[in-house]
Symmetry: D3
Subunit: 311 residues, 6 copies
């Protein structure tokens, strides 16, 4: 049974991936652990009580455990009360069953990416984008777009990038005089720095360089360096670096410069649009029809309403 | 010759529409008038010096004058130094030559509007949108979207609405589970209140109700009233009123509620996107290649860069 | 014994109204409920542990229960540890003993309201206010002004409105040239929309229209509609709508327009004054002499000091 | 003829008080002076052109001149074009004709002040307020409340204080448990520091201590010092100092502490109310019926509307 | 054994000073106390469960107890689970073992202070600073700089003041034309008001005057009063008062005026610098090499990174 | 005669460097130019009237002209009214007489820079700083720190850097455990990107890369690239890049990350301190004793007071 199918009152026994381990002591002085578990269907927190010192080593981020537990409802969210665990070794489980991925097959995503790269007509832009993509390809197609909030799963970064590229193409078609090559290039490159900022596709956290430098500055340095190495000068590297740098839209959101070219303004707006829609979809998934969601920190702490279905 | 063709040093003699009249006295105690002129190609300010009291009445907003003037460069912008004027009566000029309109023919715009209305499948939404459109049709198809900033010309409101409807359809196609009927209805209705807020398609200013109540509240009241009159109850009028009310996205921008449904969030974001792109286009029109624009108040006071053309 | 008289260590057995029910699971996996109880003297939270599934139905918002419980001190606030409950049916209790009302008798409040309406000399304003009052009278005289914060009890809305009307009259008497009719009318109408925004006088929460549209826009639509229906045109409906819309004083507080007439500025300031004084009274009630209150979210998160009594 | 009666096109010859002198050079290199003139009816700016070096000394703040000048309309405001001036000596003019004062006779204001002081029942508060009033009386009854914005005329400070004291009494009567003695004392003392902050009743500007320390800190130090000198200890001096310090309501408005007692909250709100109403009255005085005022910096840069008179 | 040496799993029995007592009731209705303990090496929280009413009196802020307890790890921080306590009387413990002090001997700090005072060459400034120091000396040399955040220990105020005086002297040496006497005087006096704002060197909290008036206004009043008493007039008291008032740098941080003289600007910046460095040192003390600290409220809620040691 | 010696009423005839040219038309339709002139003693604006088209070419940024002009006082600032100009060719003037430079000889500045580089003990940091300095040396020692505000003259960037390095060393000496090598390296590198951001040492403006990318991102990319090229890995390049990126202290000031290591916090604070002191010195230079400066945009729009000299 997958996590998505768990319901209050069940006793489950399943292979689960450990994504987080937090030690605690209860008010009454009891030791316990809060464990983040996941399988391919979703995530669930668990609590394990009265844990012995020699059992701590079983719970490590990245391990796979066979977990026997009761499913409880804790403040409106399901939670596991862990009864026992047994470590599983490779071969005893199928990693694909335990990781959350984009719903779109990776091959499809890769083909779409290639189509967007191939569609860039300007030779310099095409060459620079191709080179940067080649250098970061392996990680770029597998990383999540974030450690939480939106697209926080395997290949989420690629899925987010392609959704934005679709929007970019549509927006460009609605106006005259948009430099589609520049816009698409900016979309494809804007978040590639996340492959350095984040630790990996599973149990994702920030690297030291990720926190101290950030994906925006890591990627803008990369664009300037690679342009120099492959001999592209003039405005193209400046414009693409500007798009990477400015894509958070405002300085207080971590962009050291605000968007000053039309395509950079569009890039920052469709990035915001795609991320917001994904966060809204996720929040409404957990909201009942005719009800209001929890407050969403990433949406200015507002709540969402889920309308009734009309006939 | 049209205003767009004026250049420094010319003496012109043309029929022009008066859109604004401001009295002034120079440092040296001289009376003068600053006049806003327009024809179908654009706008230009003029100065007239040493004006007699009995000439003031010639200069009235909405009048058409035959103007003889010298074209000067004043701080980087062309300006008229008016030498003499002669009032023109209807028949002596063609009003279409003097008003700025959407570049798209009105009939085309009207057909596109009808297509969007016809495309709404939900019966209640369709009936409510149709009724509201019918009641405000004559003004809605002619008014500008604003007195300045963006789409500030005849049928600008309709053009802005249709551009947003295009974007809405595209965005809806990029995601699952967007209620397209609701989204399109929200787009079509969101700014209809401007037909009450603004004075008319030419020499546009705010009405008293426009300033004291505002298009957002005027239209939300209209949606609730008409729904009641034609007997539509339940969530549909609430949701559409919510979309009208929340389309400025934040309370500090004049929306009394923030968007709380997915379609309202999308509406406010594509409204912002379409307006920003139009303002950027306008600012770049007046910027030379490789140069920076003036600071743009409506874009957080930032400047824009106009990239060089690539081969 | 009334809630106000409960003290730590007592075992009580009283009829109480259920105003809120929240399910929980303790750290140790135990099911429990947090119940909001009230009688006419005040409110108290209770906890009930190890609840069986077939007992959940006993706890419903709006039910009256005979509760046996121990009174505990939990973080400086009294709380009930519920031992057993018995459902009471109508006839077994007196609803007036269980609801919190304005301390002023309802008849007195109604008379004062009528006097203010009668005092309006301008015929159009009088007619519009009378009509709106008549249409919303039954709810207006019973609803609270809010679900919490201030005047959060039966007829609290009316009490708040009349306190403001008193202040309005006094302020008008201190200055020349204040339009008292307009000011009093604005005071009487400004919060009538709360009769649509809130669910009712007891166990009050927000309705869907209340959250998605809000009392400000609901009432401004009502003013415009009713003025149209009874044939009042010109500035009066615009000015009254403006007063309703702007009474929160700033756009970031949910007013789509800021106050632009003198009477609207005064209205928003005395609304703020009356609400603040009520919140301060309530916070000081729970503070000991010579001590500081808790931080008050609605007062910019500040604390209050309760001075010692002087001889 | 008084300034209030000047109209465009007149040549006037009147005694006027000089309140401000600013040197200038025109674009064409011409020397000129901008002079602030006033008489008891109001204020007007004047320009004098082609001034000789030996004439500069005639124009000194505080001097009275007989001015011959033409009245012009400069950007919607009347202005003097000065033709000649003649210095007047004491005896040649009546100072009362040249200074703007409260419309209420000084004796009346003084009596009202005394009545408020006499009405304080608490002995310590009465003694402290009396002593502070005695020490600052001469200046307190003549100073303006500000150099501009509101109550910016002789005895304006006293008039503002008494208007607030009236409001304070009214507000106190509308609620239970307000410490009227404390509130009235706070009102009377809150702005006394302006007698040190400002230079005097005529041609008022800030003193160095006024700018570097400010009336809030100057007066709070005075309250603490005088209480110590006359032997009042305990909470009374602390509470009154707190009311003086916190009367701007927020730290960003220059109060080093926010109001933390009920009476201090009321004090800061009625200070704001009285000042705002006065600024609104002043702005509407200069606005035509059915029109909008200039933007008012002190009212969050908003405009005001002046409604049409109803029958 | 000192608190700094406690580790998880130990059972300790030590004399500890009680600095804070908070009553609580657990979810399951159990009474408990949270006690703040300290000795000269640091601070630790403790919990005591199932406490009887007649034991409450043992736990009073300022008491010394012999505590038997188990050391637990609670959410990453050590905590005591108290088993039993025994009250200790003077003579049974050494107060110096129980209070946290500056690491620099008090005599050294006092000598450094005297040297800075002696170094002031301007006679008026020297006389005013000496007088103020003499009046507040006993408390000034023992008080902490704050109840928490930074320099929150015995003589912390003096240590902070001297560290700033060192910085002031260095900064003055790096530029021309800095008035060192004024700057050093401002540094020495700026926080003396904390001797009135805070309750004392041990178990420090805010006094009523401290909260309602604050150290900034208390000290500025003191400077003005003492200058008057010892007959110093002119700019010196104004400038020093200004430095005290403005040392928080911005109005929103509680300074009623912003720094307007060069030395006041420098004072506010080195105050900020010294406090920030101390807070950073403290946070990094509790962070492991190569790791990130908790979010620091006083540093805009940011985290800190503790770099690895280089060879 | 140098610009610093000009006084009102003089007719001058001097060689001056043109730093800015702005075309204008007066209210009365007259063409004129506003020219920025400078020599080594300072800057002055000039106006030239009734200019012929064939004279425009004489006025080019970077040209040296012999200027005959009258010195006027325009709104409290001296200004030239240009009578005639004569273009000068190289050889007819001495460029050193026409450019403003640091008052410290360039050789002295270079020696101090070398001493700071030599003082870095950590081998990796020393190698990376040396390499970066070598690559940018020629521009780094000549560029200004800004186009205006502070250190806006030849070698101003180097002077600012060295003043900060002095402060850094002093601050490090006042605390334990500051990594002086890292701090000094951060100081030396933090603004090197200005050599790409700005156009050059004379008539300085922003380059396109300067505006679209900015000195912060240009230099952080350079640090990462050069570290890679010379084979330095691990934390050193990350920490130095972090210091460059975070030196504006806050995201809203253009730093994409806030300072997260102790040395980065100190760097951003002494950068702020040195710049502020320089701006204050400059503003006070133009203020009379006992008077207040103009509002300073870069100091939160505050004014400064220049105290009287004490004996």
């Amino acid at each position: 049974m997958y996590i998505k199918e768990f319901s209050e009152g069940l006793r489950i026994s399943e292979n689960l991936l450990v994504t987080q381990v937090i030690k605690g002591v209860s008010n009454s002085g009891q030791n316990y652990l809060t464990i983040g578990f996941q399988d391919k269907s979703g995530r669930i927190d668990g609590k394990i009580w009265d844990i012995n010192d020699h059992d701590y080593h079983l719970f490590q981020t990245g391990e796979v455990l066979n977990v026997v537990a009761d499913v409880l409802d804790y403040r409106g969210q399901l939670q596991l009360k862990v009864i026992s665990v047994r470590p599983m070794t490779i071969g005893q489980y199928n990693l694909e069953d335990l990781t959350i991925s984009s719903k779109i097959p990776l091959e499809t995503l890769k083909e779409r990416l290639q189509a967007f790269i191939d569609g860039i007509k300007d030779k310099e832009i095409h060459r620079l984008v191709s080179e940067l993509m080649t250098r970061h390809y392996d990680k770029f197609v597998l990383y999540p777009a974030a450690s939480r909030n939106h697209h926080e799963y395997v290949s989420g970064l690629l899925e987010h990038t392609l959704s934005m590229a679709n929007l970019a193409k549509m927006v460009a078609s609605n106006y005259e005089d948009i430099d589609t090559d520049l816009l698409i290039a900016g979309v494809l490159l804007h978040d590639v720095g996340k492959t350095i900022e984040l630790s990996g596709p599973i149990a994702t956290k920030y690297t030291v360089a990720g926190k101290l430098i950030g994906h925006i500055s890591l990627m803008s340095a990369e664009v300037l360096k690679v342009a120099e190495e492959i001999g592209i000068e003039g405005e193209v590297p400046i414009l693409l670096t500007h798009m990477v740098l400015s894509h958070h839209g405002k300085m207080e959101f971590g962009s050291p410069v605000v968007p000053m070219i039309k395509e950079a303004i569009i890039l920052s707006m469709i990035d915001d649009l795609d991320a917001k829609i994904k966060m809204v979809e996720k929040a409404l998934d957990e909201t009942e029809v005719g009800g209001f969601s929890q407050r969403l920190w990433a949406l200015d702490n507002n709540v969402l309403y889920k309308p009734s279905k009309r006939d």
